[in-house]
């Protein structure tokens, strides 16, 4: 029994606005299953006595003071953007599928 159904892949693809062909949907479901199987092995290794952690080190409260550090120039910020206009990032229409 696959962990990820074809329908679920289609749903995630739609949320991510990625168009997938039928055969890609089936193929990806199998591949994602493979990834989840690998993670499941790690999960078995960690017993109930190991608390879940979100950071590899047992540290807390790494903070910085509220002091301004110079930002990038707008030119530098936009230099890697595929398109820009009026000092802003230009992106394709949003929610085009609902317009």
């Amino acid at each position: 029994m696959p962990r990820i159904s074809r329908d679920e892949v289609a749903r995630i693809a739609a949320l991510a606005r990625i168009t997938l062909r039928d055969e890609e949907l089936s193929g990806l479901a199998g591949q994602i299953d493979g990834i989840l199987d690998a993670v499941a092995v790690v999960q078995e290794a960690a017993g109930a006595d190991v608390p879940a952690m979100s950071h590899p080190l047992e540290i807390t409260n790494v903070t910085r003071p509220d002091v301004i550090v110079p930002s990038l120039t707008p030119e530098a910020s936009l230099s890697g953007a595929p398109a820009s206009e009026e000092s802003r990032f230009r992106v394709p229409q949003i929610l085009g599928e609902e317009a």
């Binding site: 409260n61 790494v62 509220d66 550090v69 802003r88 990032f89 992106v91 229409q93 317009a99």
Partner: protein, 498 residues
């Protein structure tokens, strides 16, 4: 036929849920050192962290954590000993990294409450609003939709993104379900946001400017048949950008829901957008498929574990609560309950306090803010503190009246001119030549003229019928274009006719 509000509340019981987002006024962003100044040129306050560049690592702003804990303490919350950040994943360009750092199952503050007062038919009543959680997150960038007829998101050809706002510390304050408000739901919602705003202002953690978006409210509204004990399907209204709009949005949604339910239709659980001009809401994203944010713990940030000593220090440094302060001022100024409630409701407490601090008599200061200035603010449909006259200017006007340089009537003209942007009271008075006619000979001339014009009335006054004097005083005021002091005119008139 749409139901009237009275019909709605007779048949249905509303439940509310309010989510308030407040931008903190820290110098820098939540996870990087970029400045947070409002209104800066596009993309001048961005860096690899807030632009989501590969390899850039966020580090939490200590001041933002402190401000959030102070908000939690002021709202009577418990502070979570160890809380984490989480990634809220979504594909939308207002965040350049395809996720927003937020808190999910471990918010930093939980289970608080805020008491708010609302004037009801039975007098002033306190409603306790329970707080579910207060959590930290980062604000999103600003989109500009280009093309299409309306400039709105629908029909736009492309969008332009400014990430100056992306990463500004944002605190979300979420209530539990608020029920039992009955017909007062809109007023309770407004009073809650207002009280919250006052608390945030007193803490000094935010600019709390609704019109600039540093305080934003999303209102969840649902209706259930009265007495059913059930919870109806809710709608969530976003884009509510003033206190007045909070009240209007809740009332409007109650009427809309009732209209659907009465026709046997169902309320769709959806996001709606408040339209400031019409007071109605418009359906937002029409997706049947719910968003799926796939929250997971943020691996780039360490947990926040404030120690008890720090929390207690922050608790002991909390300022006087606005409700306590109001009680103190009410006592100092000797204001009746109803008047105090009117002042709070009009947002006049701070303004009156500042005016009094500048030397004005409390009763007079209150009279001006709640009277003429409130009337002009209502006419213009704006908040009292944005109407365009300062406590300093009001204090000066009160002073000019008390030394006899203005009458109440002339002062109203001055107030209107100051609000119209014509300058300070003194320059308005100078420019317009406004002054009390105190030159006795010209007053006496005007009085004699009035007596000559209405001899029969003068005779009545002479024979002791004092109320008749009003007609003569009126004529004198007209003659002097309202610039005479009515009390002095009366004195002189009665002297002449005695």
């Amino acid at each position: 036929m749409a139901l009237t509000y009275e019909e709605v509340v007779a048949k249905y019981e509303p439940s509310l849920g309010l989510e308030v987002h407040v931008e903190l006024n820290t110098q820098t962003k939540m996870f990087c050192g970029c400045a947070t100044e409002f209104g800066a040129a596009p993309n001048t306050q961005t860096c690899p962290v807030c632009l989501g560049m590969p390899g850039a690592l966020p580090v939490v702003n200590e001041k933002a954590i402190e401000s959030t804990i102070r908000i939690g303490l002021a709202l009577n919350c418990a502070i979570t000993p160890k809380s984490r950040f989480a990634r809220k994943n979504y594909f939308y360009p207002d965040m350049p990294k395809n996720f927003q750092i937020s808190q999910y199952d471990e918010p930093i503050c939980t289970n608080g409450y805020l008491d708010v007062e609302v004037e009801t038919d039975e007098g002033i009543k306190t409603f306790r609003i329970e707080i579910e959680r207060v959590h930290m997150e980062e604000d999103t960038g600003k989109s500009l939709h280009v093309g299409g007829a309306t400039g709105r998101i629908h029909g736009a050809e492309y969008s332009l993104l400014d990430y100056n706002r992306a990463g500004i510390p944002l605190v979300e304050i979420v209530t539990k379900v608020v029920s039992g408000t009955g017909k007062y739901a809109p007023e309770v919602a407004k009073a809650y946001v207002k009280e919250l705003r006052d608390i945030l202002r007193s803490l000094g953690v935010s600019d709390v400017k609704m019109e600039q978006g540093s305080l934003r409210c999303d209102a969840n509204v649902s209706l259930a048949p009265t007495g059913s004990g059930k919870l109806g399907t809710r709608s969530e209204t976003k884009n509510v950008n003033s206190l007045r709009s909070v009240e209007r949005a809740v009332r409007g949604e109650m009427i809309r829901h009732a209209g659907l339910l009465d026709k046997g239709e169902r309320v769709i659980q959806e996001t709606r957008h408040f339209q400031e001009d019409t007071g109605a809401t418009r359906s937002g994203r029409s997706k049947e498929q719910a968003e799926d944010y796939r929250y997971f713990p943020e691996p780039d940030l360490t947990p926040v574990a404030p120690d008890a000593e720090w929390i207690e220090r922050l608790r002991s440094d909390l300022p006087e609560k606005p409700s306590v302060r109001r009680a103190r001022l009410q006592d100092q100024w000797q204001v009746p309950d109803k008047e105090m409630a009117a002042m709070v409701n009009a947002g006049a407490v701070d303004l009156v306090e500042e005016t009094v601090a500048l030397g004005a008599d409390p009763t007079k200061a209150r009279g001006w803010w709640l009277g003429e200035i409130s009337r002009l603010a209502n006419e213009a449909e704006i908040e009292l503190n944005a109407v365009g006259i300062s406590p300093k200017q009001v204090a000066r006007i009160v002073e000019l009246i008390s030394v006899g340089e203005l009458t109440d009537k002339l002062a109203r003209q001055v107030v209107a001119s100051v609000i119209a942007g014509e300058g300070d009271p003194d320059s308005v008075i100078a420019t317009k030549g406004i002054k009390v006619v105190s030159d006795e000979s010209s007053l006496i001339a005007a009085i004699e003229k009035a007596i000559a014009a209405q001899p029969d009335i003068a005779e009545k006054v002479r024979s002791g019928h004092l109320p008749a004097a009003g007609a003569l005083i009126g004529a004198v005021m007209k003659e002097t274009k309202g610039q005479a002091d009515a009390a002095r005119v009366r004195e002189l008139l009665l002297g002449l006719l005695s």
